[in-house]
Amino acid sequence: MKKNIDPFWWGLFGAGGAISAISIPVLLFLNGLAIPLGWLEPPAYEDFFTLVKHPLTRLFLFALISLSLLHWAHRFRFTLYDGLQVKHLNELIAILCYGTAIAVTFVAGYILWRF
């Protein structure tokens, strides 16, 4: 069973790796550094709200957040597996990683749906 489901997680890992590699650096730099440090004027609340309210923006944000987390889950799971060689905890780690990613994906879906 495990053998059959791995390509599925790997596919999500790949999709998440690609979307995060392309989009996160610029978003992180602008939102987390350039605007808080005052290098850039922050957009007005209403303008930002309107932008995020757009269905396409919300769809993109949902894809970005959920796929990034599933990317993390898969990669981090194998980092623990290879790095710490905790074979006996393999199942528990897999459940915790994928479980967290899926739970936060539902939260993201809820927040963005009701936005």
Binding site: G14, G16, G17, A18, S20, A21, I22, S23, I24, P25, V26, L27, L28, F29, L30, N31, G32, L33, I35, P36, L37, L40, P42, P43, A44, Y45, D47, F48, F49, L51, V52, L61, L64, I65, S68, L69, H71, W72, R75, F76, F78, T79, D82, G83, L84, Q85, V104, V107, A108, I111, L112, R114, F115
Partner: protein, 138 residues
Amino acid sequence: MSLNPNYTKYHPKWYRKRIPIFWWMQKWAYTKFILRELTSLAVAFYAVVLLLQIRALAQGPEAYANFLNWLKTPVSIVLHGVALLFVLFHSITWFNLSPKALVFRLGKKRIPDALIAGSNYAAWVVFSAAIVWMILTI
């Protein structure tokens, strides 16, 4: 009962050398591999920060102002600074590895690696420029 002393019912256990937990610190290539894999933590960190920002935006101007004030704290700046380095490392290693995962053929010819990696970098530049333009003109 066999009297043959060499006979055992069970398969002998192979000798395996135990690998130390910090095996990846012995060589820079190994350390780089582990650092590359750990970029996933920075990716997850930013996905959660982004979600919190959207939630604050949905809650109203006051909650949003509070969130922006949190972003200005030294803790947040340091976290974002470190996360940016890791995320950049993720992007570069990801784009450079993309030709290994994506094999496209045009007729019988394989599309060269440089073209596949190059189109990833191009998408990165175009997307980043579009976001900067959006934030500046909004």
